[in-house]
């Protein structure tokens, strides 16, 4: 009879589970097309390393704890399979296997169950004492932990009873179950072994099936989606955004779920709500409205809320009936103010254990605000008009662009006569402090005998800020102009001193059919030093020097070592590191177009970073980006009595010549 009841419950559970999964995942298909199946072998490898191997998970505090639960789950999946199968066919079990193999499995299950139990206890303790973020102590989190703990305990009792009954060999292969068997024998339950075994078998069965059916409705959906989500990750860096087709009748950006891609939507189901993105986020951690975790969660909520509309219209969804993704920040939407506080630094994506791509979603929503509603912080009106009319953020006359080099006798770029184009960038050409960097860089290049030319007044802004700010229409115009100019002049190799120009020329312009060899000056100088074309005559007098990683050089383009190597050689001393460095570096606050926006909320991001730098008691803070330069110069000026100087690495190298 029990056997029949179990089969009925199991069939019902499996059907309900399949139906729930189908309902949830069908929602994902409302998203726009995106091809994520190229390089399947590489994808498989990534999945093994990052999902099965939990590489990112274990890299941060308490990650190992998750790893233990996850790996134990993998092993115990076998035990649970046996559990369900023997529920239907009592004669089928691992006991049919050769004894040594059976013993080995029992040992593995015993150890893994214990490990999972301990890890669950640690997780519960951690969530109670030191939660990953405020609001992490949810009923759901504790419910899941207690379900897992119950499963493990029930497993031990069921096995203990069997050992006590002599149905299982009570050898050293099952140390925990043996112990439990002995405990049972010491309690009144010893007189009712059969009943005790039954009760716990049913507890195990009900909790297991309940757990399975709860998954699709909780953040633990990630148990199902995280592994495929890693397989479907962006195989390159998320350092660029897709182009838009500017034709009449098209819509631009995303304010409703169907304007996001299916992968964006799958991301929202894969979020484990671990809170690592918000810890890494410069906006979240300095008191701004943006919280990347909540933004991803809002997309999921939004998708679920709009599920009814989507179902009825079978994918052909009417946006006006849809709850917007951008709104008051309540259930299912994100405040516009939050979207504007993103610095596009990419720390969230670097921290995410399941490779959720936050930045593309933010830019898509910004694109909607700018392009469909012309709604953006007021400072940006001037920026956009200056960029459109004069191709620089300050609205300076284009004829002033070459003024910084009026004393320098630079050569104009000419294909065949000059090897590199030195793309100075707006900051390097117009900003007083960064003009000094440009001059220093030309000194370094000249000292190494590099053949380079400039575009002078003809150079235009690369468009980085407008693209990250979501003004894709304007970026498209600007990119086409510069791409056309490069093609007609035969530019193939470019040196930039700004990581924003660097990434735009290197990664964004590729979408316009322009493949360039782009070197950030730190890379070129590193190469020149290595090849012996540049030899420091003396050590640059910088004192203790600490390096700040630029997000667009480091995290977005993986250039971490070149600036360090250059500094080491130019100063003859070790480079001091801040607590958060390389891929964990903290943004200066100026990326993603934030350079042109006031920081009205929370504490300034640059203040936070400057304090982190000053904790190393440096004489010099070294940067490799004109925006970082401005943010550090401004931040250090605020610190009373600080004599710390900010230098670009080109300036440090120039001092060593």
């Amino acid at each position: 009879m029990e056997h029949v009841i179990f089969i009925a419950i199991l069939s019902l559970s499996l059907s309900a589970f399949a139906f729930s999964c189908y309902r949830r995942l069908a929602l994902v298909s409302v998203g726009k097309n995106e091809y994520r199946f190229d390089r399947p072998l590489d994808r498989l490898r990534e999945m093994l390393v990052y999902a099965v191997g939990q590489k990112r998970v274990v890299s941060r505090p308490f990650g190992l704890n998750h790893g233990v639960i996850f790996w134990a789950f993998l092993v115990l999946a076998l035990a649970n399979l046996e559990f369900l199968v023997s529920g239907i066919f009592p004669a089928v079990s691992f006991a049919l296997l050769p004894a040594p193999l059976h013993g080995a499995l029992l040992f593995l299950f015993d150890i893994c169950s214990l490990a999972a139990l301990v890890a669950v206890a640690v997780a519960a303790l951690r969530r109670t004492v030191n939660p990953p973020f405020e609001g992490a102590r949810t009923f759901e989190a504790y419910l899941i932990l207690s379900m897992i703990a119950t499963l493990m305990l029930a497993y031990f009792v069921v096995n203990g009873v069997r050992i006590a009954q002599g149905m299982l060999p009570g050898t050293t292969a099952t140390p925990v179950s043996n112990l439990v068997a002995r405990l049972i024998m010491a309690t009144p339950a010893a007189g009712a072994l059969e009943q005790t075994g039954n009760v716990f078998w049913w507890i195990h069965a009900v909790v297991l099936l309940g757990f399975m059916n709860f998954l699709p409705y909780s953040k633990h959906m990630h148990i199902l989606t995280a592994i495929p989500n890693v397989f479907l990750r962006s195989m390159g860096k998320c350092n660029s955004q897709e182009r838009e087709a500017f034709q009449e009748g098209n819509s631009f950006g995303a304010a409703t779920v169907e304007r996001l891609s299916w992968k964006d939507l799958l991301d929202s189901f894969s979020c484990t709500e671990c809170g690592r993105c918000q810890q890494a986020c410069p906006a979240s951690s300095t008191g701004k409205t943006l919280n990347p975790r909540e933004m991803i969660h809002a997309i999921k909520e939004n998708l679920l809320q709009n599920g009814a509309v989507i179902d009825k219209l079978s994918g052909d969804l009417q946006a006006e009936r849809c709850v917007s993704l951008i709104g008051d920040g309540k259930k299912g939407n994100t405040k516009a103010r939050a979207l504007w506080s993103c610095t596009s630094c990419g720390a969230c994506m670097e921290a995410c254990p399941v490779f959720i791509e936050h930045l593309p979603k933010i830019v898509k929503m910004r694109r909607h605000l700018v392009q469909m509603e012309a709604s953006f912080p007021e400072e940006l009106l001037n920026l956009f008009e200056n960029m459109e009319q004069r191709s620089n953020p300050w609205g300076m006359a284009p004829s002033e662009r070459s003024k910084w080099s009026s004393q320098l006798n630079l050569r104009p770029f000419e294909a065949g006569k000059t090897e590199y184009l030195l793309f100075v960038g707006c900051s390097g050409a117009f900003d007083a402090r960064n003009k000094q960097v440009s001059v220093a860089l030309t000194r370094v290049l000249d000292a190494a005998g590099v053949s380079y030319g400039v575009l002078g007044k003809e150079e235009k802004c690369c468009g980085d800020s407008v693209r990250r700010l979501g003004n894709e229409y304007l970026f498209d115009q600007m990119a086409k102009e510069t791409v056309q100019q490069f093609l007609s002049k035969g530019v193939t190799k470019v040196i930039t001193q700004c990581p924003h120009c660097f990434t735009t020329l290197k990664n964004d312009y590729r979408q316009y059919g322009l493949e360039l060899e782009v070197l950030h000056h730190s890379e070129l100088i590193d190469r020149l030093l290595r090849e012996g074309r540049l030899t420091p005559a003396r050590s640059a007098e910088t004192g203790r020097v600490v390096l700040h990683d630029s997000c667009y050089l480091g995290r977005h383009n993986d250039v971490y070592e070149a600036p360090r190597e250059v500094l080491r050689k130019a100063t003859g001393r070790e480079v001091l590191e801040m607590g958060r460095n390389r891929e964990n570096a903290f943004c200066c606050g100026a990326g993603g177009g934030r350079m042109w926006l006031e920081e009205h909320e929370g504490t300034p991001i640059n203040r936070s970073r400057v304090q982190e730098a000053l904790a190393q008691q440096p004489v010099t803070v070294c940067v490799s980006c004109p925006f970082c330069m401005t943010m550090f110069e401004d931040g250090i000026k605020e610190v009373a009595g600080s004599t710390t100087q900010v230098k670009d690495i080109a300036e440090v190298v120039a001092l060593s010549l």
Partner: protein, 270 residues
Amino acid sequence: MLVVACIKQVPDTTQVQIDPVTNTLIRDGIPFIINPYDSHALEESLRLKDNHGFKAVALSMGPPNAEATLRKALALGVDRSILLSDRVFGGADTLSTSNVIAAAIKKLGEQEEVGIVFCGKQTIDGDTAQVGPGIAVRLGYSQLTLVDRIEKIDLVQKTIVVRRKLEGRYEIVEARLPAMITVVRELNRPRYPTVPMRLSSAKAQVECWSNEQLQLDVNSVGLKGSPTWVSRIFSPERKEGEIIGDGMNDPVGAANLLLERLIDGDMLAV
């Protein structure tokens, strides 16, 4: 009821240079922009459209390439853009310009009642601030200059109350409609075009009116109708500057030297 925004396409003056030989502006390769004050006039006309149900018309007199500016006005949301362009209008001073624009507004008024005409307080190339008042006088409209706030519009009584921004004071003025209003930049914050509007404006029709439509006496327009003309444009001569002190090595000393010089030259007087 119509609201008309008079806008002018001007060379981006930060980029204008003067040909030392001919004493004229070098216009080649200089980008054109909408006169900054006019963009506020345009914005206010769009606000009247949004909030009071006016129909907004953008009007510009200029060479055929001024169409670009009028197209931008369409992208921002005006209902009609009209270019007043004819060889006989060329070389106009402020008097003959206001003749042409006034005639165009009068013609618009034959189709639908004109309530308000907005102009920028002046253009950044001519800087005369005369065309707006000239239009008002020729049309017999109330003339409200230097307006930085629209206080009230009463479409039943056909009156308007505005605030004028004058030196050191404000003036609240009530006037009868129709009125010609010149605006200062504090009046509003111009909007930014949405992409769908930009794309649709690219194909939209900018109407072009020549003297055939306006039927003005050719002696009252263009160079012939202009009692004034520019005889010469030149940059004021500037004495060569000098570097005072050694700012790199002794910034405090250099600053002191500079201060002394400013005080000696009585250049810090308030």
